[in-house]
């Protein structure tokens, strides 16, 4: 199994702030990795760089072997993104939103079947004719993720996918994300410990743009001598700061 993502000393510098500071990371194909950190840790900036939404100041990164700086068009065909804010076309129905995204990535024949398949997979049948602006927060977030995967990406980026959702909607969305794991590599950013613990194969602990630790929960617990991700996280961040 090869690498889906490989970054080497990736840096994003804004005027007087280093948002990401020398990120070196590899993500295996088929892996779900969680970028865990408090607000301002550099998680979203990392996702933006890896999806060609913002250019790194320094360093190197590849998605499925394609350089994000030299081959952005190739990279854009390989990735799907569900941004932090719900990004759907409000006046379009659920089905039309999916048709729109499918139309950008797939041929007409493939797009039609992908729309039908995605509506079924995400349980959106009941809402397919409903305008996106009339959906609840949870269903909008579901639609946003469905729009990100409809182009059949190799790597899916979910930026804080459950932010602001109630516990039931969050659990439901976890099940959807779990189901996607077998088909693609997933990078999930979150500041919910239980979310990272429940979904991730490996956890990347970030703070102030730096990676403080990477590993499975068991590895991180062994490293810190603490039990549970919350204590592990606090222990690592306090020790490094």
């Amino acid at each position: 199994m090869g690498y889906a993502i490989r970054t080497e000393k990736l840096v994003k510098q804004y005027k007087d702030k280093t948002a990401v500071d020398g990120l070196t990371l590899t993500v295996n194909e088929g892996e779900l990795i969680a970028l865990l950190g408090v607000n301002g840790a550099g998680k979203t900036t990392t996702v933006k760089m890896l999806t060609c939404l913002t250019k790194p100041t320094d360093g190197k990164a590849e998605i499925m072997g394609h350089d994000i700086m030299k081959e952005p068009d190739e990279v854009k065909r390989l990735v799907g993104v569900s941004p932090q804010d719900t990004s759907v076309a409000e006046n379009l129905t659920v089905k039309e939103n999916l048709e729109f995204m499918a139309g950008l990535y797939l041929s007409k024949d493939k797009a039609d079947s992908a729309v039908a398949r995605t509506i079924k997979a995400f349980g959106l049948e009941e809402f397919s004719g409903k305008k996106a602006k009339l959906l609840s927060g949870g269903w909008k977030r579901k639609l946003s993720i469905a729009m990100a995967i409809i182009g059949e990406p190799k790597v899916l980026f979910l930026d804080e996918p459950t932010l602001g959702l109630d516990v039931l909607a969050r659990r439901q969305l976890w099940r959807e994300i779990e189901a996607l794991k077998k088909d693609m590599t997933i990078v999930l950013t979150t500041h919910y410990m239980e979310e990272a613990q429940a979904l991730a194969d490996r956890i990347v602990i970030m703070s102030e743009g730096k990676v403080y630790a990477v590993g499975t929960l068991a590895e991180l617990e062994k490293m810190t001598g603490k039990k549970g991700l919350e204590d592990v996280f606090v222990s690592i961040v306090e020790r490094m700061e």
């Binding site: 913002t54 993104v81 804010d85 076309a89 006046n91 379009l92 039309e96 729109f100 139309g103 305008k131």
Partner: protein
């Protein structure tokens, strides 16, 4: 090309499903057409031809296109303020897909709006017993396409430059200014002076003249050819300028 059409379809649906588009792009120009025709019927006919239906229809067609400018600006500014464009920036869409994907549906909206306004003008002409040339009306639909492009490009430019709150306000100023110096509601050439000087420096007066000349099939140099040249030139320059500004904003977002 495929991605342009996919994006254009999305934008067209967004515009058609917004009730304000119908009110401002279709209903409002028709209401103005009816009101001005009533005004025309109440004033002495001699020497006052501005509100006669052949003059009014051309002016109203351009007035309606100004609202297409407003809706283009709102659509672009609204997309820029939300995360929807963020998603699209990371998709295989190119900058040309964005530019034409925004402008094409607005161009179509403008053409539909002109057709509806001219149909209303025909109905009013029957009532007011003034005959309009059907050939002239059909030709007008084609002749005002450059001004439709020009207004869509201005809207695109303002949508790219300003945020969701500022863009509609600035477009409203342009609509008021354009209607005045564009000679839609009064004879700006006849008024002369400062107003006419400003009018001659902006493309709105030429757009109105072009529409009025097309309705009467007047192909004179001063009445048709010069206004056509000015409007086509303005449409091309503004479309290129709007594309450059949008692309630079896209690049700035990715810094």
């Amino acid at each position: 090309m495929k991605n342009t059409m996919v994006f254009a379809k999305r934008n067209l649906l967004e515009v058609f499903r917004d009730p304000l588009s119908w009110i401002f792009c279709i209903a409002f120009p028709i209401v103005m057409l009816v009101i001005m025709s009533i005004v025309n019927s109440a004033i002495p006919k001699e020497g006052m031809t501005l509100f006669r239906i052949d003059n009014l229809a051309g002016g109203i067609a351009i007035f309606g296109q100004m609202f297409v400018m407003l809706f283009t600006a709102i659509a672009v500014a609204k997309d820029r303020s939300g995360a929807f464009l963020t998603r699209l920036y990371s998709s295989p869409m190119k900058s040309s897909n964005f530019v034409f994907g925004y402008i094409l549906p607005m161009l179509l909206t403008a053409v539909i709006q002109v057709i509806v306004s001219l149909i209303a003008a025909v109905v009013i002409s029957f009532i007011s017993d003034y005959s309009l040339s059907i050939g002239g009306l059909l030709f007008t639909v084609v002749a005002v396409i450059p001004s439709a492009l020009m207004f869509s490009a201005i809207g695109f430019l303002f949508g790219a430059l300003f945020n969701e709150k500022a863009a509609p306000g600035i477009c409203s100023i342009i609509i008021s200014l354009g209607a005045m110096v564009g000679g839609i509601w009064f004879d700006v050439e006849g008024v002369g002076g400062f107003m006419y000087k400003i009018g001659r420096c902006l493309p709105f007066l030429y757009a109105t003249k072009l529409a009025r000349a097309a309705i009467t099939l007047d192909f004179g140099v001063k009445e048709f050819l010069i206004p056509l040249g000015v409007v086509v030139f303005a449409a091309i320059v503004l479309t290129v300028l709007a594309s450059i500004v949008f692309n630079s904003k896209m690049r700035a977002d990715q810094r």
